[in-house]
Amino acid sequence: MSTKRILIADDNRDIAHLLKLRLEAGGYEVIEAGDGMGCLARAFNERPDLILLDIGLPDLSGDRILETLKAMEGVREIPVVIQTGVDLEDGGAELRRRGAAALLKKPYNKRELLEAVDRGLHRQSHRAVDLFVD
């Protein structure tokens, strides 16, 4: 089985670095983007198996990035796991409607992280009915 590639999109370099360490230890290959435009570019050019997206990126809102990804031919099937430190008013319903596979609330532990990633990848493979977690 080939190594799954995960794109981490987070402007907090410290969080991105620690996520990379954790995911690489879990057997994943990791690529990174520090802003929304970089995320879209790397998603389109490198076609990762999953995107771990922070919704507070400086240049584009999480909603906008998600909307753009889901409209792009060739990348719309990539599962997107959202991470956020904000209490979303609707509990993440709008992000779900826009196609997010899972929601990770900060701070999360390694079990929650790896479970969300695994569920997202599982959805890509098997198209499970509902894998949204919070």
Partner: protein
């Protein structure tokens, strides 16, 4: 009975926005702290010596507590948060389970728990998950301040149509209990964050929202007694 959404006091939009931003800001370093502690524990930066494992576990526990407090603050300040569904909760079972869960930490600090409770203590219209968090919060607060070789007493007794829950530790506690209410500082030492007890304010707010009563008292030996009354389920002994 728990207050309904409409009965919750309104929070000024500016305060809401400020709190939302603060919670978001606090959760960033909290995320990296927790992740670093886990990576250290897993040996990602080299195998930690055995004597450091307990410290790492403590750090992880502190991160979890801080995360829980941040969430509590958000929930208390947001007027639009739906309260968790109410149910009939058994306070006696929750008290026993919480004591058991914290026993190892108490033993490490050479503190003994004394639990005095009936077999069952059914409450009306209280969410069990929130109640567990409340009892844990009170006991953790007592453990933090109780001196080594001392006792923390958890008592549960029926008082008319109420259940009285008390948590008593052996100190320290300010001479004037009003200072504890106003400053939320048990040690009364300026610039010492260790003495702050926001969990008491959170517990008080929760108890009042649940239609109960909350009181703090200084004990004869200079400790703190936290007492709260919660409505008993009708007809339950």
């Amino acid at each position: 009975m728990l207050a309904t959404h409409a009965e919750r006091p309104a929070v000024a939009p500016r305060t809401q926005r400020l709190l939302r931003s603060l919670c978001h800001a606090i959760r960033q370093p909290l995320t990296t702290l927790a992740a670093r502690a886990e990576l250290l524990e897993d040996g990602a930066f080299g195998e930690p010596p055995p004597e450091q494992r307990a410290e790492l576990a403590q750090l992880q526990g502190d991160c979890a507590r801080l995360a829980s407090l941040v969430q509590d603050l958000c929930d208390l300040m947001r007027g639009d948060v739906p309260l968790a569904p109410a149910e009939d909760a058994d306070l006696a079972t929750i008290a026993r389970h919480t004591c058991t869960a914290l026993e190892a930490r108490a033993a490490a600090a050479r503190i003994s728990f004394e639990l005095s409770a009936p077999e069952r203590a059914l409450l009306a219209g209280i969410n069990a998950r929130e109640l567990r968090a409340l009892v844990a919060r009170l006991l953790e607060q007592a453990l933090r301040f109780a001196p080594r070789q001392s006792r923390v007493q958890l008592g549960l007794a029926r008082e008319g149509s109420w259940w009285l829950l008390s948590v008593v530790d052996e100190g320290p506690c300010p001479l004037d209990i009003h200072e504890l209410h106003s400053d939320l500082d048990r040690l009364q030492r300026p610039d010492d964050l260790h003495g702050l007890v926001p969990e008491l304010a959170l517990a008080e707010a929760w108890v009042r929202a649940a239609g109960g009563h909350f009181a703090l008292q200084r004990t004869d030996v200079g400790g703190l007694r936290v007492a709260l009354l919660l409505p008993a389920r009708e007809g339950a002994a």
